[in-house]
């Protein structure tokens, strides 16, 4: 079933904006509506094509009018900010995440035209901790997650989505849990973190990180809107990088700090408006998180084009980062010792 009228939330953001553009380029779709409180970025607007922008707040009941009047059959909820890139006002973000989703779902429930709902969620709902399994599957429940924080918002949003699924069993619901995004063009928590000249980490810990290229994230969400059927799917690139390894690949200098100094460092970075270091993020930097993507491959039928390592290298090259130490120097020394010339 190809959707006829698609509503995309959060078009002011990277994912929402580019998703609307991708869907607008699909000739089978009649109409693409983008909703947000802020207009899309200038670069996105150029690619938006025939997509229409509705300046509306999803926290406002007005959204119901938009859905019913346009006869929207597919809703792509991409505005959830569970891993904010920079320091944000917590209350405003929670309002937008939780209340916004509640209003949107309430509007969808009253709209008989809605047949499909795609929700962009995050792998942060699994939490991160010493007692968590190394690889999370879709059936794992949240554990080791702070009681208030953006990750908790995502958990609550997923609860509301499950409630909506009970009340509207005729609507197909696809819930996509994305791992941390990276790429040369996207602004995320990790791209900001790795572009710090000195990267603070917690002493004695090394996290396993799994990344998803931003283009892959767009592709998987687009496919979720187009393909029939729903379900819960983890989406992440193949393979794993260690946090220390990633810092070295980016040519950055790692600064391990005792765990006790981490809150102060977090406050400094927040104050400098650089990176948001909340409890969940520090926990993620300690233990890391890896999700199982078998279901995405076999049931959903999507294989990410970039592995974690390739996505990270693409980000490093695209951002123009150069390693501090030239690897060819050591390689040259090595071949001189061995007596080989190359």
């Amino acid at each position: 079933m190809t959707p006829k009228v698609v509503l995309v939330t959060g078009v002011g953001g990277y994912l929402g904006g580019h998703l609307a553009a991708r869907l607008a380029a699909n000739p089978d779709i009649e109409r693409v509506l983008g909703v947000d409180t802020v207009p899309p970025h200038r670069d996105v607007v150029r690619t938006l094509g025939r997509a229409e922008f509705v300046r509306a707040d999803i926290r406002n009941p007005l959204i119901a009018k938009v859905i019913t009047s346009a006869n929207v059959d597919t809703v792509l909820h991409a505005s959830l900010t569970a891993v904010p890139p920079g320091p944000t006002r917590r209350t405003a973000l929670k309002e937008m995440n939780v209340i916004g989703t509640m209003q949107l779902l309430a509007a969808c429930q009253r709209a008989p035209s809605v047949r499909k709902l795609v929700v962009k969620s995050t792998a942060a709902v699994y939490g991160a901790g010493a007692r968590s399994p190394a690889v999370f599957t879709e059936d794992d429940t949240p554990k080791d997650i702070s009681a208030s924080g953006p990750a908790r918002d995502a958990v609550e949003v997923e609860q509301y989505v499950r409630g909506f699924a009970r009340r509207r069993p005729d609507v197909e619901i696809a819930l996509i849990r994305l791992t941390n995004l990276i790429g040369p063009r996207v602004d995320t928590l990790l791209t900001r973190y790795f572009s710090l000249p000195v990267v603070p980490t917690v002493l004695g810990y090394d996290a396993r990180i799994q990344l998803l290229h931003s283009e892959d994230a767009l592709a998987v969400l687009e496919q979720a809107a187009l393909r029939p059927g729903g379900g819960v799917f983890n989406a992440g690139g193949d393979g794993v990088l260690m946090l220390s390894q990633a810092i070295r690949r980016a040519g950055r200098v790692q600064l391990p700090m005792p765990a006790a100094a981490m809150p102060t460092a977090g406050r400094l970075l927040r104050g400098a408006r650089l990176v948001d270091f909340n409890t969940d993020h520090v926990r993620y930097l300690n233990y890391g998180r890896v999700v199982d993507t078998t279901r995405l491959r076999t049931v959903f039928g999507f294989t990410p084009r970039w592995t974690t390592r390739q996505a990270f290298d693409d980000y490093v090259h695209g951002s123009g980062m150069r390693p501090v130490l030239d690897p060819s120097l050591l390689a040259g020394l090595e071949s001189r010792v061995l007596g080989t010339r190359n």
């Binding site: 380029a25 025939r50 399994p133 390739q310």
Partner: protein, 324 residues
């Protein structure tokens, strides 16, 4: 009430020539096939080889050019940094003798179940080396560790890098399904922290979680008996108050610790024997047999009895604990 306004972003005449979103063509980088085969590396041995290997290792580490699996296992680091000192202890200090290597499968998953002893988990590390150095295919042993290990800074990170993961069913099953050799010490702290007077008496084998993991993945269980680890730190007392203060399961007193301070932390040089027993198949049961608790308990007991009987037999054959 406000009205939702549809704001067209582009003028109508431009609608026809809408720009498709940029298609990213750069895929994964593909290495070009060299036209001529590369120069044959000359045989270099001795010090120069060593220096070159160290340089290569330094280059890989500094540029992050190594592979890590989803459990955090780092074979490059394990092989170059972590194993060599342990191997020296294995060969020179404990003089480990290994038998029954033919019982380890050449490939595919298997669950190696061992007895636990020695106050500090040196037996786990020695078993890992025994598998790595004696198996014809030099396989790695992936160990399942207690959650306490992963909560401790530094230790937890090192444990992951050396191929350990949390002892829980999802992790164990994932490793077994991907065809790894998995080592488990089901006695846990009860086994490793038992007093010296109870040496070589197997403790309770948990809830049989390891048996259900093996049954669910259909891999054989290989009982493994370790003799010699009980004598390295004879635990003759336990300071419970201090243990509780640090959140430890026990705080041992040995004849030399804490009396001699850090010197007392040197393990006694006992002579070790590690025996891998005959594999117990688990794929002969019908589907969902792991949901039958009685069957799981029986199999757990069978494994436990096998290890216990082998231990008694090995002990009677052993002479002096330190000379073997």
């Amino acid at each position: 009430m406000q009205e939702a306004r549809v704001i067209p972003l582009q003028r109508t005449e431009r609608h026809r020539r809408f720009n498709p979103p940029p298609v990213v063509t750069e895929g994964p980088a593909v290495e070009p096939t060299p036209l001529r085969p590369g120069a044959v590396e000359p045989e270099v041995a001795g010090l120069r080889r060593g220096v070159a290997d160290a340089l290569a290792f330094a280059r890989r580490r500094m540029t992050g050019d190594y592979q890590v699996d989803e459990f955090g296992f780092d074979p490059d680091l394990t092989e170059t940094v972590l194993l060599p000192p342990l191997r020296a202890v294995y060969q020179k200090w404990f003089r480990v003798e290994v038998s029954g290597v033919e019982n380890l499968p050449a490939d595919g998953g298997a669950l190696i179940v061992c007895n636990h002893s020695g106050t500090l988990p040196l037996d786990a590390m020695m078993t890992a080396i025994a598998v790595r150095d004696n198996h014809p295919a030099q396989r790695y042993l992936r160990m399942l560790g207690a959650d306490l290990v992963f909560q401790v800074p530094l230790l937890g990170a090192l444990a992951r890098k050396s191929g350990q993961t949390l002892a829980c069913n999802p992790d164990a099953e994932q490793l077994l399904r991907s065809g790894e050799l998995v080592g488990v010490w089901p006695e846990g702290f009860k086994g490793i922290g038992k007093p010296f007077s109870e040496r070589y008496k197997l403790q309770r084998f948990g809830r049989g979680g390891f048996v259900s993991a093996a049954m669910r993945t259909g891999v054989p269980i290989i009982p493994c008996s370790i003799v010699g680890a009980e004598e390295i730190y004879p635990k003759i007392g336990d300071l419970k108050a201090i243990a509780r203060l640090f959140g430890l399961p026990y705080f041992p007193i040995t004849p030399f610790f804490p009396l001699l301070g850090p010197l007392g932390a040197i393990p006694l040089p006992s002579k070790w024997h590690i025996r891998f027993g005959e594999p117990i198949p688990t794929d002969t049961y019908e589907k969902d047999a792991q949901d039958d608790p009685m069957l799981v308990f029986n199999l757990t007991d069978q494994v436990r009895e096998t290890i216990q009987q082998t231990l008694y037999r090995m002990l009677t054959q052993r002479g002096n604990p330190f000379l073997g």
